[in-house]
């Protein structure tokens, strides 16, 4: 087994999400340093608020204002914060029941150490300096020494949830860093490409040769292992003419993108056809790869000048 190939793979996705009326009021409220909850059918106040009653599934819209102070219901000390978590130094994760609320909100608590945190301790919101209408407008909680606010007993006051310039959506950015490794069969394929060779793998059962190999015969469901050199010449089995320029792609349109059955392969791979006017490319055209220095893959395929392949030689590969 040669060394395992590895490459960094970053998956980044900025989801843009619209908000329901309750979520919109709650997140806009945070921007204005106001914490809103929602009343359920059985008279409980949920913070953070949701659009539908968790018990009856009824739409709920009665908003109330709760205090920015509350009580820790459970906690966990995080000695090594991870990249995107609320605080960069060690902190406690906490569930906090804000005064006036019946349920708890998850957030971070800035405290000197685990000995300074306990269930039942009093905390208050520390607002972020810049607020945009997001849960991170609460920078974190901090310890707070006072008795529960009067609202806890009296019930939280109603709030119409109306603010100027309400937030109607959030953009949730997310980045995950992976290390990609392609596995046994594709490693062999990629290593051969560095020598400007195309290799496939043959199914021990149906004898078909797959290029690129994925390690298994999708028809027989068995492992492929016998490596087979294919090409370098091949036949265009079918093609299309691309008329729209792709972003960040330095290729003039129109150009031809084709399925190419390399000689000896039972599966066509795809590539760009160059070295011939786009309107002269045809099914059966014989082509060969064109390599550019340092590249792992052929840059494109060009005509070999051989006579066109007869349809019957590639009809099963369409």
């Amino acid at each position: 087994m040669p060394d395992v190939l590895k490459a960094p793979l970053v998956v980044e996705f900025p989801f843009t999400r619209s908000l329901g009326p309750v979520q919109s009021a709650f997140l806009t409220g945070l921007r204005e340093r106001v914490v809103l909850g929602v009343r359920t059918g059985d008279g409980r106040t949920l913070v953070p608020p949701v659009e539908y009653d968790p018990v009856t599934a009824q739409e709920i819209r009665d908003l109330v204002e709760v205090a920015p102070t509350g009580t820790v219901t459970t906690w966990a000390w995080n000695p090594a914060p991870r990249r995107d978590q609320p605080l960069a130094t060690a902190f406690a994760w906490v569930l906090v029941r804000l005064d006036g609320a019946d349920t708890a909100l998850l957030h971070a608590l800035d405290a000197p150490g685990p000995d300074a945190v306990r269930t039942g301790m009093r905390v208050r919101v520390r607002w972020a300096a810049e607020r945009v209408g997001a849960i991170t407008d609460i920078a974190c909680f901090e310890p707070y020494h006072d008795a529960p606010a009067a609202t806890a007993a009296a019930g939280a006051p109603r709030h119409d949830g109306v603010f100027d310039d309400p937030v109607t959506g959030i953009t949730a950015a997310a980045r995950l860093d992976y290390t990609y490794s392609p596995g046994r069969a594709q490693t062999g394929y990629l290593n051969a490409l560095t020598e400007h060779r195309n290799v496939g793998e043959r199914c021990p059962s149906c004898r078909k040769v797959y290029v690129p190999p994925r390690g298994a015969c999708p028809t027989c469901g068995v492992a492929t292992s016998e490596q087979v050199d294919v090409g370098p010449h091949g036949t265009v089995t079918t093609f299309c003419i691309v008329n729209i320029k792709a972003k960040n792609l330095d290729i003039d349109v129109p150009y031809v993108y084709a399925h190419i059955a390399l000689d000896g392969a039972d599966l066509a791979l795809h590539g760009r056809i160059g070295g011939i006017p786009y309107d002269q490319v045809r099914m059966g055209l014989r082509v060969e790869p064109v390599w550019t220095p340092g590249a792992r893959h052929p840059d494109h395929y060009r005509p070999t000048g051989e006579p066109d392949a007869h349809y019957d030689t590639y009809r099963e590969l369409l």
Binding site: T73, N78, R83
Partner: protein, 349 residues
Amino acid sequence: MNREIAVVAFAQTDHRRTSEELSEVEMLMPVLHQVLAQTGLKTSDIGFTCSGSSDYLAGRAFSFTLALDGVGAWPPISESHVEMDGAWALYEAWTKLLTGDADTALVYSYGKSSPGPLRDVLTRQLDPYYLAPLWPDAVALAALQARALMDAGHTDEPALAAVAARSRGDAEANPHAQLRGPVPHGEYVVHPLRTGDCPPLGDGAAAVLLAAGERARELCERPAWIRGVDHRIEAHSLGVRDLTDSPSARLAAERAGAFERPVDTAELHAPFTSQEVVLRRALRLGDDVRVNPSGGALAANPVMAAGLIRVGEAAARIHRGDCDRALAHATSGPCLQQNLVAVLEGDPR
């Protein structure tokens, strides 16, 4: 339609910290071949195929379609996939067999956690408005639950350490386990949970074959009959739940018939020691019930396969005659949010 459905074969990979030399299908294929070999079936004999996996784990889009290469899905087979643990794929397959549409089903699942930052990856399953922007990782959320259990007097740190030690001790008899034998309980990952309270990170795959009625008896000497399966979910907002209890697990067990007669064995999908404490209480498991003889998820936790493995391990004990009636449990989501319970029985001996 009242049909008897049984688990007739089970296979799993050796679970390892990394399987970087193998693609997902290369890791999966051997277990597919093993369950077929155990029963003498070919792909073309299988009536229905269902799998469970998540592309987020390895960051590979549509990896489950590539995994199908290992099944031999041509000519086209009757197939389905759930973006969940394979135990939920088993539920779908069981339902399919109950309808009479198929007599046999292949269920498989796999997870490669090694390519990505699993703790961060799992935050992406949370509420995108109020939770995901804070990136609370799986260990942090389990630690909040563990603290709540301690505050309620249901457990303490020595009791959790004992769960860890028992699990890894039992795993010494499990050749597929990743962590076995004496394992240091370690430092706090997120207080009050130490490394020993957390599952190992690793890659692995599992497969199960189901068959109905007489077909099951032909394929397996002592089929593990599925007497019931049910799954239930709790509110997604952690702050509205009682984290010390699992009403969803209890209700699923009740609906699956777990409380009709005592079980002798339970395979619980409790990735964290504290979650075994919650489940034992919720599922009313007494001290006479053998819990996680395989070592459970604390010994090997290939995400997306670890729940299906609980069903497979319970079934395998029935196959071997080590158990007559077992409860198998799978979980998904933060702090045991969603729970599946299956009840399996062997024919009287």
